[in-house]
Symmetry: C2
């Protein structure tokens, strides 16, 4: 039923949801207050509490995001390809929704609204399992979606919040391969591992980013400073922030001291290998564990490498295939890096922070897939759909 | 390494494998003889034994199929899309291999060669787990691939046969989500269920086809007879053969008697609902179980329906979303069927038997996916690849 809703009706429903969200600021903030009180009682960090908080500005942004999704081209019923076979059969490949999508996430309540609007737009029913700490806020958001659906006689179950608070309930859901077509877990290692082990339906992981920037011997060092600074410091708590810097031996002693000074002004801790520590005395030693760690914080590990191949090897060994960037003026070196680094986004002379659905022009993003199957990297509406083949004949039989 | 092999080299290696396969007929038939002896001792049916048998004609066909794969366009390193963002960033979406693919299958030894050639062509390493009954034949085929790989200094592990014969070894493999990027199980319910429950990596199921043909009241009955006969009888043992016929009440008494006569000449058993049994007295009653069964045999269940919506509902309830066809002259009815039936292939006035990678013009087929994620329906080389985003800037940072 959801699969066949006309484009205009979906737009209308999304716009009305956005308006109602705006009008319900007070109710939403009231629900959010409950979550905030519990969060304080439970001693959540002030950073966590800040992420949790809904104010009228954030509610306005949430509504704006829904209007933006309403405006996107409808992804369903599109003919991706069509061709005629020598025998006259006409084949076309047409987009369809996946069906029912379960999204498991933590963090900010606005994710609830983003996922609901994108799934609705793509004709999918969605089961949302947000973090415990945002329970009442998520409920208030979902209620608004459901009220509008009800008005248009669309099954309210199309946007459902999984109300349970214990983990075993997720395990139950993960067994329902006939009812749920896709699970998207967004979050930490524990959650991802649990879902991967138990799910019987396809899973698209939105997992961690151990992202690298490699400063080549032929880098424009001014540009390198800007990119490496931006990749680490512009927003350290997100998955496309840099966690390890690799720098060519030939430019390390010229590059690292001014770079370290920039980081220190931002309160960013540096850990390094032996060569880095000779150039930047006093810093902590980076261990094997550091190379594999997504700090999501103002910490950076640095390694000096002898050539681009060593940088590539390091990324292959320790990276998470999320986003990796090279800074170089040498086109051949850049193309080698691009060919050999198999990450969802490979960049040349750009900050890793660009790895993002909005920055890529997808209009909206359900998250960043760290899987290679179905959807990889920033995942927009295209990641939420499938297709079917429509074959038209004139009495064709096979001989 | 496999990911970066130049197109020409891959073609050369595939052609050499095909030639060597042709030259090694004797060795291969000797290995096959071992399997056949064991199969006879174990009392396998003559149909099974026939499927298992390799003769010089079948070996020739196997070699021909490799030549065909060599000729296909290279799926790797293709730019699927490329665009420039308003800030000047240039983004392109480029195809890459998935990595390591595990294929679990039963039946004919030629599947071993088909899977090996398609995975090699798409830059993937493949782990092949064929049926026990074809063990020696599969070994002989894989050995030929590996000998050629060795000559070109390509890791022989790129084409590996899982040598184990017990099922727990598969379970071990299914836990290695860091080493295996995709599992494709092709086979019966038991195998599929086992894999889905245990695999931690993505699974693309190649499961069963409970395919339908619906004869509408506005069907050309001559065409309907041909299509329904072809869909059932041209090759009853394959997944795109029809298992249930649905016929509109208004044409049932005209259509069914001559159709039943055609089926009976082929030795095909008919089971039907009450209305069908009134028109075709003496046939067995079709039960709930029949509507859900993939016979893969000369058996057909028939149901009389009151209108196209009832046919659609039947397909939604009992079908396996593989391939379903409508025969009608009415365009509106056809389009309703096409819109509402969410199967990997939906056909109008054509036999379900066309649902096949070669028939769709994909050049080769790894099988027919019954999943909706990543690859749906006939799955060619496109189903074996992923992509990465390549982002090129000139010192771009995010603000």
């Amino acid at each position: 039923m959801l699969a066949e809703l006309p484009r205009e009706l979906k737009q209308k429903i999304l716009r009305e949801t956005a308006r109602r969200l705006n009008r319900s600021s007070d109710l939403m903030m009231k629900a959010n207050q409950k979550d905030l009180r519990i969060a304080k009682r439970m001693g959540l960090s002030s950073a966590m509490i800040d992420r949790l908080k809904l104010d009228s500005k954030r509610i306005g942004q949430m509504a704006k995001a829904i209007f933006d999704v309403a405006k996107l081209p409808d992804p369903i019923g599109q003919e991706l390809k069509s061709w005629r076979r020598p025998n006259g059969l006409r084949i076309s490949k047409v987009t369809v929704p996946l069906g029912v999508i379960l999204i498991i996430y933590e963090s900010r309540p606005n994710v609830t609204s983003e996922c609901a609007s994108l799934c609705f737009k793509s004709g999918n029913a969605v089961l949302l399992r947000g973090g415990r700490e945002a329970f009442h806020s998520n409920q208030a958001i979902a209620r608004i979606y459901r009220e509008v659906l009800k008005r248009y006689r669309i099954p309210q179950a199309s946007v459902s919040l999984v109300p349970v608070r214990d983990r075993r309930a997720i395990d139950e859901l993960l067994r329902l391969e006939d009812l749920i077509n896709l699970v998207i877990p967004r979050g930490g290692a524990g959650l991802i591992r649990r879902v991967v082990r138990r799910a019987r339906m396809p899973v698209i992981k939105h997992y961690h980013g151990v992202c690298h920037v490699y400063i080549d011997r032929e880098a424009d060092l001014e540009m390198a400073l800007n990119i490496a600074f931006n990749a680490k410091c512009q927003r350290p708590g997100v998955c496309n922030a840099m966690e390890t810097l690799l720098v060519h031996r030939a430019v390390a002693s010229q590059f690292l001291p001014p770079y370290a000074a920039m980081l220190r002004r931002e309160g960013c801790e540096i850990r390094g290998d032996q060569a880095t520590r000779r150039i930047l005395p006093g810093i902590k030693k980076a261990t094997e564990k550091d190379w594999r760690t997504e700090y999501l914080d103002r910490i950076l590990s640095i390694r000096v490498v002898n050539h681009v191949d060593q940088a590539i090897e390091h990324i292959q060994n320790y990276g998470s295939a999320h986003t990796d960037s090279i800074v170089t003026r040498n086109k051949k070196t850049a193309e080698k890096f691009v060919a050999k680094v198999d990450s969802s986004s490979v960049m040349v002379n750009a900050s890793t922070r660009f790895s993002d659905g909005n920055e890529y022009g997808f209009g909206a993003e359900i998250g960043i897939s760290t899987d290679k199957v179905h959807a990889r990297g920033p995942m927009g509406l295209e990641g939420l759909i499938s297709y079917k083949y429509v074959v038209r004949g004139r009495g064709h039989i096979r001989t």
